[in-house]
């Protein structure tokens, strides 16, 4: 399985996605610093405390990488069907299910790892800068960080699951556009913040979306051996 994943990455030169992820991180970071800086200059407090800052970082990161996951799905799976390269792939003496599972595993792992790493990276840099320049009128305590970790992990897992939902829409007509647009809808549901509240905070919603994502993936591979390509 690891070998299959390695071949997939080699085939699509997925290194460019890592570069993209790093760029996305810096944009999120820059955006947050920009908001904090403006609000400090204007004297209007946007980010009241670190709890809120960490929540916003987490929302941004998840939104970004759910969309990233959709582009990966579009490239690794939808694109194979669209460009008919799937006929080449399915002619190899390798179980079709394994081939698709390897692709999905890349999507899930990439999403999960990016969310965790980006959260850590952005939070660290942002906190460092904000503590140094007093951007937020609050103190960052280790208790707060410890308290955030489990929820961040939970959210990352849920996001990795729900990131698979676009696969369903994309596979209907092998459309890359549909895949990415459906991921935007998911992001709108789970990452929109109205003041202090987001749908993602109702724990049932992210969990059920994640389960839907997993079932979509299961449906995609269940009949794959009987399918004509």
């Amino acid at each position: 399985m690891l070998n299959l994943m390695r071949l997939e990455m080699k085939k699509y030169k997925l290194g460019s996605y890592v570069r993209g992820a790093i760029i996305a991180n810096f944009i999120i970071l820059g955006f947050l610093l920009f908001i904090s800086l403006i609000s400090k200059i204007e004297g209007e407090v946007e980010l009241e405390n670190y709890d809120m800052a960490l929540t916003i970082i987490d929302s941004f990161v998840r939104a970004t990488f759910i969309i990233f996951a959709a582009t990966l799905i579009a490239k690794l799976i939808i694109g194979e069907y669209k460009n008919k390269t799937i006929t080449t792939l399915f002619m190899y003496p390798i179980n079709r299910k394994k081939l698709i599972v390897a692709k999905l595993a890349i999507v899930i792992l990439f999403t999960f790892c990016s969310i965790i790493i980006s959260n850590i990276l952005i939070t660290t840099i942002f906190s460092f800068i904000s503590v140094t320049y007093q951007l937020i009128p609050d103190t960052l305590t280790s208790a707060l960080i410890m308290q955030q970790i489990p929820s961040m992990l939970m959210h990352a897992i849920a996001a990795s699951g729900m990131a698979l939902i676009p696969l369903y829409f994309g596979m209907r007509k092998f459309s890359i556009t549909t895949t990415i647009i459906s991921s935007l809808f998911i992001v709108m549901i789970v990452s929109s913040n109205s003041g202090d509240f987001s749908l993602n905070d109702i724990i049932v919603i992210p969990i059920s979306l994640a389960l839907i994502g997993i079932s979509v993936a299961y449906l995609a591979i269940r009949n794959i051996e009987k399918m004509d390509v």
């Binding site: 390269t85 002619m91 390798i94 004509d228």
Partner: protein, 307 residues
């Protein structure tokens, strides 16, 4: 008789329409099997089913003596294929394409990659992505990819599409060499009769999803070779003379006055002289050529099998 590929009432229905109906195909070990048929006859669909890409609606396929099922993966290791037109991951170069292919196939002889690139004349394409290849180059790469692992069975759908005349000749020689020296069985489809004629040992003719006939090239040649037609006044006597004096047995008395001689070693001149010497009046003598093309046109249009 060992058959590498055998299909039994192979049928495929797409959207309520039978595109392949009850095909019984027999491919012997070590032969080149030409799969001939007009566009849309069902050649590609049959080949897709042989490679397990498309699943039959009914009927079954035996490859290397084993029935093909949804879970037949090992058998794919022993096949090399091009279906419709070769499809690649277009961002890779020719060498990367072959490397990737070998890894997926579980074939680890790196030296072979250079050899194949050389064989299909793609050595000077380093740094060029497959995306920028011409159709002919893609076709060559496709062939290279299909043969690199030295499979026992090659399934090639229209492999000469897009090649120039020199390329076609080279590829034809290559196929013959692979067949002869490595004992690779090749199934090659085409709608170009002349191509199949020069390549195949056995021909399967398919039209409207039905396999009309399966015939060895030798048989086609025998039934379709040139012949000399002599029209005489006394057919029976002439036949006797031809047999006894000229030692020809390969002839046919069509009706009482018309004889067809299939033995090409005897010239028209000798035949007429001998017959005249034995007092037989010759009303006409002529050399006739029945082209293979006529034969297949008849077969495909009329669907009559009389070979």
């Amino acid at each position: 008789m060992t058959y590498i590929v055998k299909t039994n009432h192979l049928t495929k229905v797409f959207g309520g329409k039978e595109v392949v109906s009850a095909v019984n195909m027999h491919v012997k070990k070590g032969e080149i099997y030409g799969f001939l048929g007009p566009n849309g006859a069902g050649k590609t669909t049959v080949m897709k089913m042989l490679t397990n890409l498309t699943k039959p609606t009914s009927g079954d396929i035996e490859i290397f003596g084993e029935k093909l099922t949804n879970h037949s993966y090992e058998v794919l290791k022993r096949m090399g294929t091009i279906i419709e037109y070769p499809i690649f991951y277009e961002k890779l170069t020719a060498r990367e394409t072959l490397e990737l292919h070998c890894e997926y196939m579980g074939y680890y002889d790196k030296a072979e990659i250079e050899h194949i690139l050389d064989l299909v004349k793609l050595t000077n394409t380093d740094g060029k992505r497959v995306k920028d290849f011409s159709l002919g180059m893609k076709q060559r790469l496709g062939i290279g990819r299909a043969i690199i692992t030295k499979p026992e069975l090659l399934i090639l759908d229209e492999p000469i599409n897009g090649l120039d005349p020199v390329g076609i000749k080279e590829i034809r020689e290559l196929f013959k060499m692979l067949c002869k020296e490595y004992g690779i069985t090749i199934i090659v489809s085409s709608h170009i009769l002349a191509e199949i004629e020069q390549l195949a040992d056995t021909i399967g003719v398919i039209n409207n999803g039905r396999l009309i006939t399966e015939i060895s090239m030798d048989n086609v040649n025998r039934s379709q070779t040139d012949y000399i037609e002599v029209v005489v006044n006394d057919g029976k006597k002439a036949a006797f003379i031809i047999e006894s004096k000229l030692n020809i047995t390969n002839f046919k008395l069509i009706d009482n006055g018309c004889i067809r001689i299939y033995d090409s070693s005897v010239s028209q001149n000798i035949i007429s002289r001998t017959l005249i010497e034995h007092d037989i009046e010759i009303e006409g003598i002529s050399k006739k050529t029945n082209s293979l093309e006529d034969y297949f046109m008849k077969l495909i249009n009329g669907g009559v099998v009389n070979a």
